[in-house]
């Protein structure tokens, strides 16, 4: 494990009036790794992201980003990181190339390197033949690629991705995953918030699961699954009355369960003490099981 941290949060608290959005968060992003911040809506992911650029100021706790103490030294930290926002805020009446050019200035790319920086970003976003297209004429996927490459014009050491693929179709998501994976393989540190479990599983070296403003679990996806959801699971389908029955039986037998909407998933089959589970679809436990176990079945 890397011995230096790109991001370090200790006991971070952020309140909005009577609401505590983040309530004592600890978070580490080791340099050169991709950390997934996973949690349901309202868990405090976006607030956490905003605190990392000092666009929200913590009420308590310590925040270090790239070795700078926030919020006091947030500006030099921001100079070395790239931010991909959840909401598309491209300049819609500007062309692809103009959007990138603006950001080479905002991120202080030296004059002699500006042209190369723009070309590199165009290539990364695979938008070379769209350089003169206005941003509002691009497809959703292209806009996202532009939004990501715009955050990379200055070769940041750290990239914050806030829900990078929310609302996009599967093909586009895969395309973006490839882009993010390429970034990771170059050694860029990444913090990515998401509520897509598959996204975290595929891209993140470690995952921190947030619920109600706190980190409830942290570790490699496989470790989290083993620790919280065990090895094997079985999904049992049936009418609600039957599902309740199955649930009670499984719990009596030392296994844990979770609802999936249409079925009951019985977890930790390996711990069964009452002669095995009922008939159903067997599968390996996954991160979604962990997510639901730790963040609750019902969204508040």
């Amino acid at each position: 494990m890397a011995d230096r941290l790109a991001i370090r949060l200790r006991g971070v608290v952020k309140r909005f009036g009577p609401i505590t959005a983040v309530g004592g968060l600890d978070l580490d992003v080791p340099e050169g790794t991709c950390v997934g911040l996973l949690g349901p809506n309202g868990a405090g992911k976006s607030t956490t992201m905003k605190m990392l650029t000092a666009q929200a100021i913590a009420d308590e706790g310590e925040i270090d980003v790239l070795g700078y103490e926030l919020p006091g030294d947030s500006k030099p930290a921001r100079a070395e990181m790239g931010v991909v926002p959840q909401l598309d805020n491209l300049d819609t009446t500007l062309t692809v190339e103009q959007n990138l050019r603006v950001f080479t200035y905002l991120y202080r790319v030296p004059r002699a390197e500006r042209r190369d920086a723009i070309e590199r970003a165009l290539e990364m976003a695979n938008l070379g033949d769209r350089r003169d297209t206005r941003a509002d004429k691009l497809s959703g996927g292209m806009r996202r690629r532009l939004l990501i490459s715009r955050a990379l014009v200055h070769r940041p050491r750290l990239v914050l991705l806030d829900e990078p693929t929310v609302g996009l179709d599967p093909q586009v998501r895969q395309e973006l995953w490839a882009l993010i994976d390429a970034l990771r393989s170059e050694g860029t540190s990444i913090l990515m918030s998401t509520h897509y479990i598959e996204e975290a599983e595929r891209l993140a070296d470690t995952v921190t699961i947030m619920s109600h403003g706190k980190a409830v679990a942290s570790g490699k996806p496989s470790e989290l699954v083993a620790r919280h959801a065990g090895g094997e699971a079985i999904e049992v389908y049936g009418p609600p009355a039957k599902l309740r029955e199955v649930e009670a039986e499984a719990r009596a037998g030392g296994m844990s369960t979770r609802r999936t909407g249409t079925s009951v998933a019985i977890l930790r089959l390996e711990d069964a003490t009452n002669g095995g589970p009922p008939e159903g679809h067997r599968r390996a436990a996954n991160l979604e099981d962990v997510f639901v176990l730790l963040t609750g079945e019902e969204i508040a």
Binding site: Q55, G67, K75, P76, R78, P85, N89, T92, L94, V102
Partner: protein
Amino acid sequence: MSAATQPVRRRRLGRLERPALAGVLVREVINFSSYWRSVTFSSTVEPTIYLLAFGFGFGALVSEVAGYNYIDFVGTGTVATAVLFASVFSAMFGTFVKREFQRTYDAILAAPVDVEELVTAEALWIAIRASVYGCTPLLVAMVFGLDPSWGMLVVPLINFVTGFGWAAAGVLISALMKSIDNFSYVTSTLITPMFLVAGTFFPLDELPQWAQTLGWFNPLHHCVELVRHAAFGFEGWVDLAHVGVLLGFGLLMWRLSIWATGRRLVD
């Protein structure tokens, strides 16, 4: 994870840094290339209409006002109107849209740009535009007989100082309003009276004393007077006082707009 963080680095960047201001200005300049036609149209045509309407309408009734030929009086006066329209409205609507709808400011503040730099650069850019647009009434009035003079060369500078103050005032108004619909309250109660009672279309010294006193609190009035004196001869200390008021107005609005925008953009 018990990994130690890196040794704390200190490279405090200063306030109001040139690269940060330049970054925001470049964004505006590049964007301007996509909408300059409409802005230029509204910023120049509207004051010109006022100039022509009053110039010909009143000009037919009165030939001389406060010792000036009426077309000269209105031609120099509407410079301030042009500056006001080109600055305060651009700032109000532009910053509200960029802050609340396009979320442009979120992107800019994620870069190494602070609220102070963002607001300052936005106000500077609008002031530059207002400075140029503010000269159209003079040019139009020249067509109708206003004599050019050397003093008019400082008009862009007067426009810039006035435009900066009003741009910052627009940013402040935008930051204080919850909704873009609320702008009409400010326009009706503050901006329209100020625009009418500034000595643009009629001199303030014919008004009751209280109105004249109020006029001195109207920054636009000082712009009107300065431009007129620039065109027809400066009046020493009086004009210095006008400059002082405009600078004070600009400084006050600048600081207030930074404070109010910060409250809206940083939680």
